[in-house]
């Protein structure tokens, strides 16, 4: 028998299961949802008094445990979602932390601006996007999300607020972007958006026969294209390994779209309500049926064929939302991986320096195929370095691979990924925390330069001396254990 006492001084919190987007991790937490900076300060004070750790969270779009805190408290910023201002003459937006990319483009596009950097889904918050320093299909051209941040306010666990930009508090500026929410809580972000002259982009699909051909396409076009992304059929072997479909897009110049005023309206950007006649809300149930190696082999092969057809079509036009937010076409598509506990997916995104990328990716795909863990989806992108301390970005390439996780395959998959991680680290590669579910401390040590890691830790000791802010991701990569992959000896 035990007694639990209720005291009435605490701010209201909700006890919920907080889950990673990929459903591969989660924990029960007391979730606090502040509406104001003052409420963030109160939450910090209360959490400090309780002696428990506090994890920051936006809409929870990270695939892994970046917003999970199995040690008690979660500060959910989604209620702080006011667009404070949008200047139609400069395209500069002042946003509260919990404003989503969806809110931003719906506000900016009718005034002739599109966010410079967006993810494949429109649902992340801008604070989450900054904390994880996300990137889009134009990373090679415009950099990461942090590169479009002009300034932000960061509330420290002490309650102090620091305004950071490229002139003021520059260390904190470059460390908090990509800083995993470990240095403080963003309360306001100022972003630069991009002037556009149409609600559409010009898109071309090009079927490529292997990875070398895909990389050659990117290299040939990256000076001109505004967006480049490759879909990889990870099931293809032999000479066709790394085959797939490149999507190449560019903005329209002023005057090219005679109906720009209409196409820039939100209504024009609507994603289709149905797919092949099925209501899109139910499409995941169909995907569930083919969510197995044979179904996915077939789907990838069909897509390769469809890509050839699309390649013959040449240039066509597509809305910004339709081109960028492919992941939002099928709501809840992750449920195709199962909805029961222990079922889900991980995305293993590998970043490799340009000179070793081709051979190393082939080695990785070959190993996946031999081990019987073939990614159901592979997405290929080109990247460039950025100035943020904990960045994943480099002059090179990334491949994002979606693996199905089940209670029975989990350990085996982790073992295979452990082998992949060795290959990546030996090649000088990196990983990306918005996607990662696997890295242990040892991988972190090998992938990120010591000077950067030490400087980051020193800054954390200054801004969060009590060590209030923690997540499962943080403990996984910074706890001094010697594993390369979490849970794999």
């Amino acid at each position: 028998m035990s007694r639990s006492q209720t005291n009435n001084s605490s701010a209201s919190s909700s006890y919920e299961y907080v889950e990673s987007w990929g459903m591969n991790a989660g924990a029960h937490s007391h979730v606090l949802r502040p509406h104001s900076v003052e409420a963030i300060r109160e939450a910090f004070a209360e959490a400090t008094a309780s002696g428990r750790k506090l994890g920051l969270r936006g809409t929870g779009c990270s695939y892994g445990d970046a917003s999970i805190n199995s040690e008690g408290l979660s500060l959910d910023l989604t209620q702080m979602n006011q667009i404070l201002s949008f200047d139609a003459s400069t395209g500069i937006a002042d946003l509260e932390a919990g404003v989503t990319i969806e809110q931003l483009w719906k506000r900016s596009l009718p005034q002739g601006y599109w966010p410079k950097v967006v993810s494949g889904t429109m649902f992340p918050t801008v604070a989450g996007a900054a904390a994880m320093n996300i990137h889009g299909k134009n990373n090679f051209r415009v950099g990461t999300f942090g590169d479009n941040v002009l300034e932000f306010d960061l509330v420290l666990p002490s309650g102090e607020m620091r305004t950071c930009n490229r002139e003021q508090n520059t260390d904190l500026f470059h460390a908090a972007i990509g800083g995993l929410g470990m240095l403080g809580c963003f309360s306001r972000l100022r972003l630069q958006t991009k002037r556009v002259h149409s609600g559409k982009v010009r898109v071309r699909g090009e079927s490529v026969r292997n990875l070398a051909a895909m990389m050659a396409y990117f290299e040939a076009e990256k000076g001109r294209a505004d967006y480049l992304v490759g879909w990889v059929d990870c099931f293809a072997g032999g000479d066709g390994m790394g085959r797939g479909l490149v999507h190449d897009a560019e903005y329209l110049a002023e005057g090219e779209d005679s109906e720009a005023e209409q196409t820039m309206q939100v209504a024009y950007q609507q994603l289709p309500g149905s797919i092949l006649g099925f209501p899109k809300g139910e499409v995941w149930r169909f995907l569930r049926l083919i969510n197995n190696p044979w179904g996915m082999r077939l789907l990838n092969a069909l897509k390769q064929q469809a890509g050839r057809v699309e390649g013959h079509e040449g240039w066509h036009e597509q809305s910004h939302a339709g081109f960028n937010f492919l992941l939002d076409f099928v709501p809840n598509w992750k449920f195709a991986y199962g909805r029961k506990p222990g079922h889900g997916l991980i995305q293993y995104q590998v970043f490799l320096p340009a000179d070793v990328a081709h051979d190393t990716f082939l080695e990785i795909l070959g190993l996946c195929q031999r081990q019987g863990h073939v990614p159901f989806l592979g997405v290929f992108k080109r990247h460039r370095p950025d100035p943020f301390w904990m960045t994943h970005s480099l002059d090179g390439w990334s491949m994002a691979m979606d693996f199905k996780v089940t209670p029975t395959n989990r350990m085996d998959l982790w073992q295979v990924c452990d082998q992949l991680t060795r290959i990546v680290l030996d090649a000088g590669g990196k990983f990306y925390f918005a996607k990662d579910s696997l890295m242990g401390h040892e991988a972190m040590v090998r992938a990120f330069p010591e000077a950067r890691r030490e400087a980051f830790l020193a800054l954390k000791r200054e801004t969060d001396p009590g060590g209030l802010l923690e997540t499962d991701l943080w403990r996984r990569i910074f706890a001094s254990n010697s594993s390369l992959t979490d849970g794999v000896a």
Binding site: S4, S12, S14, Y15, E16, A25
Partner: protein
């Protein structure tokens, strides 16, 4: 994941013995609520018991701790108690959270709190009537909303609300009690429809005549014991019934009562 479990149903503070699950009973200090605590614990559930009276809860927990298991193969589950007045709706989220955490997670919540003060034939007493709504309806909304958020987020769980056959028609006897239960029925049905999309079940229990302290002042012909009612409630929850009359024959009574046209119903003294 070192600490974060992939399974929503395992918590760090969960007892290490094999348990059937974790249940929370709100309104646990008397009547059906108290019986539900006894039976759940006896069947091997870890049980959280919430009520206003600390003395009654402590006595109940002590009694359960001394009792023998009701179900073979399971120990008597531990009973955790918390005092909270459901009419203080602003405390519900916090109290619910603390209780669910101390149980190591939650699989079942039963809202059994309810009051039925005697109301005179010509009595229109607003404070008394609003007090009924505070407990029976507003308290239920506060606690069931908290449970709904947890269950929806973990895509599992069962929520049971104890309503009443009194919600079937607006009878002369106790207008606001009936209204509170009709409101509760409507609310629970809506929760059921919402939460079924994410694999969460909501069960509405409609007791007829049950011998409890709440009905002690009434002369109830053919009433069943609170313990029998609790047994039937748990059975309904386990079989994922949507609506269950306890005992079942009250379903027939309700069907008849609901079918009487108003022009006749208003002349009857039921």
């Amino acid at each position: 994941m070192s600490d974060s479990s992939a399974l929503p149903v395992t918590g760090d503070s969960a007892p290490k013995v094999a348990l059937r699950g974790r249940a929370l009973v709100v309104g646990a200090s008397s009547g059906m609520g108290m019986e539900l605590v006894r039976q759940l614990a006896g069947a091997g559930w870890a049980v959280g018991a919430v009520a206003r009276s600390a003395d009654k809860l402590d006595a109940l927990a002590a009694e359960v701790a001394r009792s023998a298991p009701l179900t073979a193969g399971y120990p008597v589950g531990p009973v955790t108690v918390a005092t909270c007045d459901v009419t203080q709706t602003e405390l519900a989220d916090l109290a619910f959270g603390e209780m669910a955490e101390s149980l190591g997670g939650l699989d079942l919540m039963i809202f059994a709190a309810g009051i039925m003060p005697a109301v005179g034939r010509d009595e229109y007493n607003t404070p008394k009537d609003l007090g009924i709504l505070d407990t029976n309806l507003l308290g239920a909304v506060a606690w069931c909303n908290a449970a709904a958020r947890l269950f929806a987020s973990q895509r599992s769980g069962t929520l049971v609300g104890i309503s009443s056959i009194a919600g079937a028609r607006g009878r002369k006897g106790n207008p606001v009690y009936g209204a509170s239960k009709a409101g509760l029925d409507h609310y629970l049905e809506a929760l059921r429809n919402r939460l079924s999309e994410v694999g969460v079940h909501v069960c509405t229990i409609k007791p007829g005549f049950v011998e409890t302290p709440m009905t002690a002042h009434l002369d109830l012909a053919g009433a069943i014991s609170a313990s029998e009612a609790a047994r039937q409630i748990l059975k309904a929850a386990e079989s994922r019934a949507n609506t269950r009359y306890v005992p079942w024959r009250w379903g027939l009574v309700a069907a008849v009562v609901k079918s009487i046209p108003s022009m006749i119903f208003k002349r009857l003294s039921i």
